[in-house]
C-alpha cells in the first residue's frame, strides 16, 4: 500500500459509513488510483509517494458522505432520520432568522410614522445614525434570510445558499475587522457575545443547508408558510416593544422569544424520534444565544438587572431541558436500533 492509497483510504474511512465502505471502498480506491495514474512510471512513482487527493476528489467524498449520513427517505433508516432532523433544524433556524425582517420593518414603520417614542430615542438620530453602507448591509441581512427560507421551501437550493451567504456576509466582514483590530491594536474585542454567537449560529445554518441534497425530497411548503405567517404577525409587536424600551422589552426580546418557543415545543410536541432529535439539535443554539444574552446583560453595571435574571433563568431552564431531551433521544435511538420483534 503506497502513501497515496493510504491517504485516500484514510479520507474514505473518516467520512463514509462502515457498511458502505465494506461494499464499495476497495473499488473506489482502485478507481481513484487509476484516475491518478499518468502512464509515466517516474511521475506515477512520485505521485504514489507524495500525491494526495485534490480538493475536488475530497469534496466529492464529502458530498457522498452527507448524502449517506443525512439521507433522504430511501436511505438507511437511521441516516434518513438524522437527515430529516437536520433538514427540519435548518428550516426552523432559517424561519427564526427570516422573522427578523417583519421585526425590522415594524420598527422602521413605527419610527417613520412619528408615533410616540421615549425621550432618549430621537427618530432623526436613528434615521441619520447609520452610514449608507450600514443601511445597505442591514437590509441585505434582513431580506437575505426570508429569501433563503422561501428558496429552500420551493426547492431552489443554490438560491438559498447564495441568499443566506449574502445575509451573513456583513457580520462576517465585521467579525474579520474586529479580529484584525484586535490583532493589530492588541485591544480586547469590541464585539458583544450576542454578535459572535449569532455569527456562529448563522454559519451553522448555512452548513446545515447541505442536508438538502439531490436525493432528499424538498419539504412540504404549506405548514412552513403557515408558521412564517404566524411569526410575521407576532414579531412586529415584539419589535415595537423593544423600541419603546418598555419594562417588558427587558424580557421580550428575539432571543427570549426563541428560547421560550423552544421550551414550549419541548413540552408540547409529540415525543417522536424525529421531533426529539430536531429539538436536541436546536438546544445548543438556544443555550448559546441565551448564554450570550446573559453575558451581555450581566457585564455592564448600568443595565437593569431584570434582563440578566431573565437570561440566566432561560439559560438554566434550556440547559436542564436539553439534558433531559438528550437522554430521551439516546433511549429512542437505542429502541429503534433494536426493534421489538413481537410488536
Amino acid at each position: 500500500v503506497n502513501t497515496l492509497e493510504r491517504r485516500y483510504r484514510r479520507l474514505v474511512g473518516l467520512l463514509l459509513p462502515e457498511p458502505y465502505r465494506q461494499a464499495w471502498e476497495d473499488d473506489m480506491v482502485a478507481t481513484f488510483l487509476d484516475r491518478m495514474s499518468t502512464g509515466d512510471p517516474e511521475v506515477d512513482e512520485y505521485l504514489e509517494e507524495f500525491g494526495r487527493p485534490d480538493a475536488d476528489e475530497v469534496l466529492s467524498v464529502v458530498a457522498l458522505a452527507i448524502r449517506l449520513r443525512l439521507a433522504g427517505p430511501d436511505g438507511e433508516p437511521r441516516a434518513a432520520l438524522w437527515g430529516q432532523a437536520v433538514r427540519t433544524f435548518a428550516l426552523t433556524c432559517l424561519l427564526a432568522n427570516a422573522l427578523l425582517l417583519p421585526l425590522g420593518v415594524a420598527q422602521e414603520a413605527w419610527i417613520s410614522s412619528g408615533l410616540w417614542l421615549p425621550a432618549e430615542i430621537n427618530p432623526l438620530g436613528i434615521a441619520h445614525d447609520h452610514s449608507a453602507w450600514e443601511q445597505v448591509t442591514h437590509w441585505v441581512t434582513l431580506i437575505g434570510w426570508p429569501v433563503a427560507f422561501l428558496a429552500v421551501l420551493f426547492g431552489r437550493r443554490s438560491v438559498a445558499l447564495l441568499a443566506s451567504a449574502a445575509a451573513v456576509l456583513p457580520s462576517l466582514v465585521a467579525a474579520l475587522v474586529l479580529v484584525a483590530q484586535m490583532l493589530l491594536d492588541r485591544q480586547p474585542s469590541q464585539g458583544t457575545a450576542t454578535f459572535w454567537s449569532m455569527l456562529i449560529f448563522q454559519s451553522v445554518v448555512i452548513v446545515a443547508l447541505a442536508a438538502f441534497h439531490q436525493t432528499a425530497p424538498g419539504p412540504d411548503p404549506a405548514p412552513w408558510v403557515r408558521r412564517l405567517a404566524i411569526g410575521a404577525a407576532v414579531v412586529p409587536a415584539v419589535g415595537i416593544c423593544i423600541l419603546l424600551q418598555s419594562p417588558a422589552a427587558m424580557l421580550v426580546t428575539p432571543v427570549s422569544l426563541a428560547a421560550v418557543s423552544w421550551l414550549v415545543a419541548t413540552f408540547v410536541l409529540p415525543r417522536t424520534t424525529l421531533n426529539v432529535l430536531t429539538l436536541v439539535l436546536l438546544a445548543p443554539v438556544v443555550i448559546v444565544l441565551c448564554g450570550s444574552w446573559l453575558v451581555d446583560a450581566a457585564l455592564p453595571s448600568d443595565r437593569p438587572v431584570l434582563d440578566a435574571w431573565t437570561a440566566c433563568a432561560l439559560t438554566l431552564a434550556s440547559a436542564a431541558r436539553a439534558l433531559t431531551l438528550w437522554r430521551t433521544s439516546r433511549r429512542l435511538l437505542a429502541d429503534e436500533a433494536t426493534p421489538d420483534e413481537i410488536g
Binding site: 461494499a23 482502485a30 478507481t31 484516475r35 466529492s60 457522498l64
Partner: protein, 110 residues
C-alpha cells in the same frame, strides 16, 4: 433521471466497464462537460445499483488490484431507452418550434 445517471447508463450501454472506464467514457460522451470524481461516480453507481438498473458483472485482477466491472441490467436498458425517447421527443418539439420561428414583431400573443 439526472444527467450524470444518464451518462453512466450510456457508458455501460454497449459493454461492461470498471469504475475508471465509466468515468473516462462519461467524459468523452459528454464532450468534456461531465467529469465524474470518484465520490460522485460511486454515489451515482450505488443509486443505480439499488434501483436495479446496473449490477456487478465480474471482478478482474489488474496491477495487483481487483477491478470490478459493472453492466446494465435489462431494467437499466429499458430505463435508458425510455430516457432516450423522452429526450428525443423534447428535441423534436423544440426543433419544430425553432423552425417555425418568426421575427419578434409578428409573434403570437398566446
Amino acid at each position: 433521471m439526472t444527467e450524470q445517471a444518464f451518462f453512466v447508463l450510456t457508458a455501460l450501454g454497449d459493454a461492461p466497464r470498471h469504475g475508471y472506464g465509466i468515468a473516462k467514457q462519461v467524459l468523452a460522451l459528454s464532450q468534456g462537460r461531465v467529469d465524474l470524481r470518484v465520490g460522485t461516480l460511486y454515489g451515482v453507481l450505488d443509486r443505480l445499483a439499488s434501483e436495479g438498473l446496473v449490477e456487478i458483472d465480474r471482478e478482474e485482477r489488474y496491477a495487483g488490484r481487483l477491478r470490478r466491472y459493472y453492466c446494465l441490467t435489462d431494467e437499466g436498458a429499458r430505463a435508458l431507452a425510455r430516457e432516450i425517447a423522452r429526450q428525443r421527443a423534447n428535441a423534436r418539439v423544440a426543433s419544430a418550434r425553432l423552425r417555425a420561428r418568426r421575427p419578434a414583431a409578428t409573434g403570437d400573443a398566446s
